[in-house]
Amino acid sequence: MKNNFYLGASSALVLMALSGCNTAPQQKIAEANAKPTSSFQRDHGDGFADRYWFIDEYDQNGDGELSRKEFDDARASRLTGMDLNKDQRIDENEYVEEYALRLEKQLSEERKGQISQTAIRFDSVDTDKNKKMTWAEYEASGSRAFTHLDKAGRGVIDTNTPVPEMRTAQNENEKPRPRSALSMPSSHSVSGFIAIYDKNGDGQVTRAEFDQDRKNSFNATDANKDSWISAEEYLLEFENRLDRQAKNVRAGQIKQAHVRFGALDKDKNDDLTLQEFGVSGERIFSGWDLDKDGTVTAKDPLPKREHKQEKATAAK
């Protein structure tokens, strides 16, 4: 689908290396993918992954580049699609509803992906492959995760723990990993690890705290109390966590959609006109089309955004 773009992408990366950028591409991707975000972030992001997905979202002819006309047409079509009751007006509810529906589809897709990963994770923990995850296997897996981060053997994961290298380097010819709407915390990163296991809120996870947490998790997941976790129990527990996260994400993102409508509807008449929507589109497009040639491609310089968000780092 995006063959031209792959070539374009690798040449862009070469350009960056030659120009002596301080941050190597892989690390930029790591940072970019470490930040959770919304589709708003895609439109207003700054990484090469953000731009890839921005182009992808509006690209009508699939050539990996986004012309101004393609963008405007896609936006106009989206706006018309929002007018659910066909009264030639887009009110706040319709705007939010259109967004909520897109978000729901994205969440469903991510959920499917996460669930298929769960089966793989179960098998990797079930080392004797008997379809029963025992406490010994569960404990061993947790132990591996802890020592992977705690290479210095200090017995605690905290803000002094060094950020691990990316487990798999992003192949420059690959499609960048999509932004996650669900953004489940991962125990592979220091911040994710602390987010999951720091129950007493003191900003660090001691080995003892971790072990106790794992014991509690194991017992809670073993729903029928037969002292092992079946694949189904494992999946149900994970789905429960996924759905909890999804509920929070939905609530937060829908609130943001209401806020966005307020910002877009400049004359406050509860009607989003094509003109008002166009003003916002103009800002988005020109934020990406930095070489001002009317097309957003991999050749455009990457923007420097004034982010109100702080960078995601392990230290806090």
Binding site: A100, E104, K105, D202, N240
Partner: protein, 485 residues
């Protein structure tokens, strides 16, 4: 949402859960889902038997008449916007901002299909369908829990046991309860489906299943939440541990309460008790409170006249309307506080003369002697990204549970003086014990400062008043406590 089926054992133990123990037994009337429980006072067994039989006969006649009325009303309501039932439905759909709806027929059909096929429907599709149903005025009423509530209201009018607030009943004659009954009756509970009315000369105990499973006893424990004064008020109780509110689809156990906003069963939802003058109101409010986040739901319920509500979230945190605790027996009301003059908090958010002013994020909470938050008083600011700037609050509580933010947060507020009253209960509804506590107010403003004011205090039978002052983002902060004589 998807827990292994664990039934609240109190339900299994059957009758008498919501009304005081009775001397006469419960008898089932020949109508599905209807039960009546009565008790009498100080009459001999022969009289008791006679009265019970009369009451039973009265109700049976009433039911037969009601069946006819109900059938007519429901079919009228589906077609005619003038029917009383239709109007009530639309009134509540509007008043709840579509958190309650009588028009979910197409959605219920999808879930019916899911129960048969044992497969979950497509979530995005259901959301789309929910939106269509909401926007289309022509969508007709469909059967739901609210039918039971409406029938119950009619019944109560017939028995002459209380006001129902509905339009006059379309019956030829109104059988009235014999004078003899009303003196001898000690308590009566009429239940239709999940709706019930209790009438009693003594207090009525209302319990909920605690949402925490007790591993040792292998049961959900009971929270005794209220002792209602004798009343003909309608009660609507939606207990998330109650198996009659759940449906099983594949390996998943889901609620039967469908959220009209997205067509999906309410997830990680709170348990709710509502009391109101009539059953229709009670059930509309209760179903709304299952779907709205607790703090916003309670704020909405506070605006409704004649309604009191209690919401218990899945962690056992309690949220109550300001009139709820009036129902509690006096000696259980406020622990060691002798009367209910509360703890009063006043604080000022000062004006800032800046170009792009953003209203500050704010957390008010009380912690115990181990610095653990025991009561969240206010949390203003919906975006958890900015709530992180409330550094102490975030470290102590915010980072632990994102569900808390959605449950208790409200919109930011402008610079002004604010006044709060606290009833001395912790997040879980329990009165705090005497001892040392600390009050915290933490503020963070975009492009502004972060400020924290903490005031230690001791809860005892001694009154006190303390003042403090912030530097930039907070003005005067004062606490005052007067436990009474």
């Amino acid at each position: 949402m998807k827990k292994v089926l664990q039934v609240c054992t109190l339900l299994m133990s059957g009758a008498g859960w919501w009304c005081p123990a009775v001397s006469a037994g419960e008898f089932e009337l020949p109508l599905e889902n209807v039960s009546l429980m009565v008790s009498f006072q100080a009459i001999n067994p022969a009289q008791e038997k006679q009265l019970t039989v009369q009451l039973q006969q009265q109700l049976q006649i009433g039911i037969e008449k009601l069946n006819a009325i109900a059938a007519a009303e429901f079919s009228a309501a589906k077609k005619s916007p003038d029917s009383d039932l239709h109007q009530r439905c639309m009134q509540w759909e509007y008043q709840s901002q579509s958190a309650f709806s009588c028009r979910l027929g197409d959605l219920e059909a999808q879930w019916q299909q899911a129960r048969i096929s044992n497969e979950l429907p497509d979530r995005a599709q259901l959301r789309q369908l929910a939106g269509q149903l909401r926007r289309d005025d022509r969508v007709a009423l469909a059967p739901g829990i609210y039918w039971h509530a409406w029938i119950l209201d009619q019944f109560i009018i017939q028995l002459g046991l209380g006001e129902s607030g509905l339009d006059e009943l379309k019956v030829a004659e109104k059988p009235r309860v014999n004078e003899q009954y009303q003196n001898a009756l000690k308590s009566l509970r009429l239940r239709i489906g999940s709706q019930q009315r209790c009438w009693s000369k003594d207090a009525i105990a209302v319990d909920l299943c605690k949402p925490v499973f007790n591993e040792t006893n292998n049961t959900f424990e009971k929270i005794s939440v209220a002792q209602f004064a004798a009343t003909a008020s309608a009660l609507s109780i939606i207990d998330q541990q109650d198996v009659s509110f759940t449906q099983k689809i594949g390996p998943y156990r889901l609620s039967t309460i469908i959220n009209p906003r997205d067509g999906w069963p309410a997830e990680f939802a709170p348990s709710v008790i509502v009391t109101a003058a009539d059953s229709f109101t009670a059930t509309a409010v209760a179903q709304t409170l299952v779907v709205k986040p607790p703090v916003k739901g309670i704020a909405w319920a506070n605006s409704l006249a004649g309604v009191a509500a209690l919401v218990v979230d899945e962690h056992g945190r309690v949220f109550a309307t300001s009139n709820w605790y009036q129902y509690i027996e006096k000696n259980k009301a406020y622990g060691f506080w002798k009367n209910k003059i509360p703890f009063v908090i006043d604080y000022e958010i000062p004006n800032q003369s800046v170009a792009e002013y953003r209203k500050p994020y704010l957390a008010l909470w009380i912690s115990d002697s181990t610095a653990k938050p025991v009561k969240h008083l206010r949390l203003l600011g919906d975006n958890s990204r900015w709530l992180r700037e409330l550094k102490l609050w975030w470290r102590r509580q915010g980072r632990l549970d994102d569900g808390l933010v959605d449950a208790i947060s409200g919109a930011t507020e402008k610079p002004a003086s604010y006044h709060l009253e606290w009833d001395g209960r912790d997040d879980f509804g329990n009165p705090l014990a005497q001892g040392s506590y600390e009050f915290h107010i933490e503020v963070a403003r975009e492009h502004g400062d972060h400020e924290l004011v903490s005031i230690p205090f001791t809860l005892s039978d001694q009154r006190f008043q303390v003042q403090a002052k912030g530097k930039t983002e907070l003005g005067k902060v004062s606490l005052s406590f007067n436990p009474g004589p």
